[in-house]
């Protein structure tokens, strides 16, 4: 039924296309060699296996949010707690400047983007280990595991964004000012999230393979991400950074992304154009090199799983 409906809308492959694909699978000539597959062969392969990518992605999202009794409560409570505490410490006690919006909103926006990065990076890092049972029994392009494990970032974003909107409404009632920026600018915020996922995947390609052989990676990643958090303008605005340290904002791709998210959603700060360009170049390099590294180490690391 659902399928017929989808076909009626012209959404999803036609029966003929599926038949052609089935024939292709039956006649597909595959080669196993110690030498690694070329880049385009890889891409083609991931496409052939796209169904399992989709299945894993949905599964990872379900894993994350299914099975809790309090369900929706946790979705919001989990990110809210640390934000509330930080607001109290940095906003109230230390009076960190927050660019003319309540510190709570400032911090919520900044840490939303950061949280998406941090969590995605963790998920990607653990992805091979999590799919170990399957990886040792059946074949699918291994890179599907890390890619699929970024999927929950989308729901994470939905939750954090809802939280931000709700908080803005509360402040609207309280202060009479609606801080949320409505308009095209928000697309910049969405773009920031997508780029954050991309960067998390880029880093994760390295860490996921490394952690198979070097347990240190698994342990240290949380510490590293804490330091990284402080090196990123989450609890403080980018404008507070002394000029001589501003170079760090170019080297840390997360800095412009967090700033861009705040700019997009709340309309605060500057659009970090130059820093963003630098960050994107770095992400692209990390990602490309990560692909190569993953591809090379895959076989040797899977043997060790």
């Amino acid at each position: 039924m659902q399928l017929a409906f989808r076909r009626l809308l012209g959404w999803g492959p036609s029966a003929a296309a599926e038949e052609a694909e089935e024939r292709n699978w039956r006649r597909h000539k595959w080669v196993i060699e110690p030498s690694r597959m070329g880049f385009f062969a890889r891409v083609e392969e991931v496409w052939r296996y796209r169904r399992i990518l989709w299945f894993f992605a949905i599964q990872r999202v379900k894993d994350r949010y299914e099975g809790t009794t309090l369900g929706p409560f946790w979705l919001f409570a989990r990110p809210l707690m640390p934000i509330a505490i930080s607001t109290l410490v940095f906003g109230q006690l230390l009076n960190v400047p927050s660019e003319n919006v309540p510190y709570f909103l400032f911090f919520l926006a900044g840490s939303s983007c950061w949280r998406i990065f941090e969590r995605s990076m963790l998920w990607v890092t653990q992805s091979l280990e999590a799919a170990k049972g399957l990886i040792k029994k059946v074949y699918f392009p291994r890179i599907i595991a890390p890619i699929a494990s970024v999927a929950p970032a989308i729901t994470e974003f939905a939750i954090l964004f809802t939280l931000l909107v709700l908080s803005c409404v509360v402040y609207w009632i309280k202060d009479g000012v609606f801080y949320l920026r409505l308009g095209v600018g928000m697309l910049a915020g969405v773009a920031a999230v997508l780029l954050t996922c991309f960067f998390a995947l880029a880093v994760g390609l390295w860490t996921s393979v490394l952690q198979v052989r070097h347990k240190d990676v698994r342990y240290s990643i949380r510490y590293v991400s804490q330091f990284w958090n402080y090196a990123t303008p989450v609890i403080y605005p980018m404008s507070k950074i002394p000029a001589k340290y501003h170079i760090l904002m170019y080297l840390n791709p997360m800095a412009p992304l967090v700033e861009m998210y705040k700019w997009g959603m709340l309309g605060i700060g500057q659009f970090p154009a130059k820093e963003l360009a630098s960050g994107l170049v770095i992400s692209a390099i990390v990602f490309a090199a990560g692909l190569v590294y993953f591809n090379r180490s895959e076989a040797a690391s899977v043997d060790k799983l």
Binding site: I32, E33, P34, Y139, F140, A299
Partner: protein, 418 residues
């Protein structure tokens, strides 16, 4: 066109060494797993070496060999779970693998979702997988448990589901490792039949099993692998025979029964029960002659040997039979000693055999014993129809059941009168 071509396939593992050199391995080396650990004391181990063969569609290849011979490694490479070190494989079509008693199931997911997942891995869309669900569950006999996470399945159910999923995905190549090890007789039968049917329509099967009976029945080709290399490929009958003969000559020192199994002159290599045709058998058919075959590895020249056989059952020594001759042996080497247990002697019971040999040397007066206590345990079974009146009513179960010769005739005096 061949459905599977394997050329010079090899897989090398690096066994961890003493670890001393690990300190000296550079950080750089450790971050590049494809170059190895830099641990110089590590040893290479070739689980598979120079394996080449080609299979046509419809071939059912039985793969036999001792544990650790490389059978599973071969299947794992073909399933792409591990990457080969050398060589090349070219295949056509969808490959479905049943490795180590299981398919790629996620234990936390219910059976139906696992089917969808497996289908997705093989490029089969979800609606198609759902359409095949009833067939799959029916064949596996787990219809009532389709919503149950597979971690709650019994091992038999798990295996049945795995096989059913595999065969219903319309593969062109099926890799089956020991699928018959679990599962009852009825399901095994169903599996073998289904494999044979599918092979008739062009499915290529690689079937690993230790069940020689199943290999000979199902396969149309067999391959014997030992120490990572192909020893022989060909007709199942011939390969199985040769394999079993060779198993003989392997010293199984791992069997550590009590007793002096070795002395200065000789060591017992193996003791087996064989049929008149020389084939290894696990049980003795009562109506046929069977042989207790002892392999002795003689270490010195000019030895003399005399053997005895103790047969025990139900805690009793049934008999000891000693060779009436002393045999002179020539050069060192492996000798076979056969003791025939004639047909129609044993009862339907479990027998245990102890083999003892007395060794002497022409210039030494001393005798050296060689005893393999309880070296062999086998069951004797009747091949006659159990429903026959003789077996049930007129035979009483004793320790032995010799078939006596019966004659009925008239007494001479009586005969004269007639």
């Amino acid at each position: 066109m061949d459905s599977l071509v394997v050329e010079n396939l090899g897989k090398c593992y690096i066994l961890p060494g003493t670890g001393q050199d690990k300190q000296t391995s550079t950080f750089r080396q450790r971050l590049q797993p494809w170059r190895g650990d830099g641990d110089e004391s590590a040893r290479e181990f070739w689980a598979l070496r120079d394996v080449s063969f080609r299979l046509e569609p419809g071939t059912i290849l039985g793969i036999i060999g001792a544990n650790g011979a490389g059978k599973t490694t071969l299947l794992k490479i073909l399933a792409r779970v591990i990457m080969p070190t050398t060589g090349r494989v070219v295949g056509v079509g969808r490959v479905v693998s049943l490795l180590e008693l299981g398919a790629g199931f996620d234990p936390d997911l219910p059976a139906d979702e696992n089917v969808v997942m497996n289908a997705a891995m093989l490029g089969i869309p979800k609606h198609e997988a759902l359409r095949r669900l009833p067939d799959i569950f029916e064949f596996a006999g787990v219809e009532r448990f389709e919503g149950t996470p597979v971690k709650h399945y019994s091992s038999g159910m798990y295996l049945r589901l795995a096989f059913s999923v595999a065969i219903n995905m319309n593969p062109q190549i099926l890799l089956a490792d020991e699928i018959l090890a679990v599962g009852d007789q009825a399901f095994q039968e169903k599996c073998l039949q289904r494999i044979a049917e599918a092979a008739a329509t062009g499915l290529t099967v690689l079937f690993v099993s230790h069940d020689m009976e199943a290999i000979m029945r199902l396969c149309n080709r067999a391959m014997w692998i030992n120490a990572g290399q192909i020893v022989k490929t060909g007709e199942p009958e011939a390969v199985v025979d040769e394999y079993q003969n060779a198993v003989w000559s392997q010293a199984d020192a791992s069997r550590s029964e009590k007793g002096r199994r070795a002395n200065r002159f000789a060591e017992v290599v193996a003791i087996r029960l064989v049929s008149a045709a020389g084939r290894d058998i696990g049980g003795a058919p009562i109506s046929e002659d069977v042989f207790v075959k002892t392999r002795l590895n003689i270490l010195k020249t000019h030895c003399k040997v005399r053997c005895a056989l103790d047969v025990n059952t139900r805690g009793h020594l049934l008999f000891r039979s000693t060779d009436t001759d002393v045999h002179r042996l020539g050069d060192p080497g492996v000798y076979e000693i056969l003791a025939k247990i004639p047909a129609n002697l044993l009862a339907e019971s479990l027998y245990t055999v102890t083999v003892s040999c007395i060794m002497t040397r022409h210039d030494e007066p001393q005798e050296f014993p060689l005893v393999a206590y309880n070296a062999l345990t086998f069951i004797a079974f009747s091949t006659e129809d159990a429903a026959a009146p003789i077996a049930g009513r007129l035979q009483k179960p004793g320790l032995i059941a010799p078939k006596l010769e019966w004659t009925v005739r008239a007494e001479e005096a009586n005969a004269a009168r007639v």
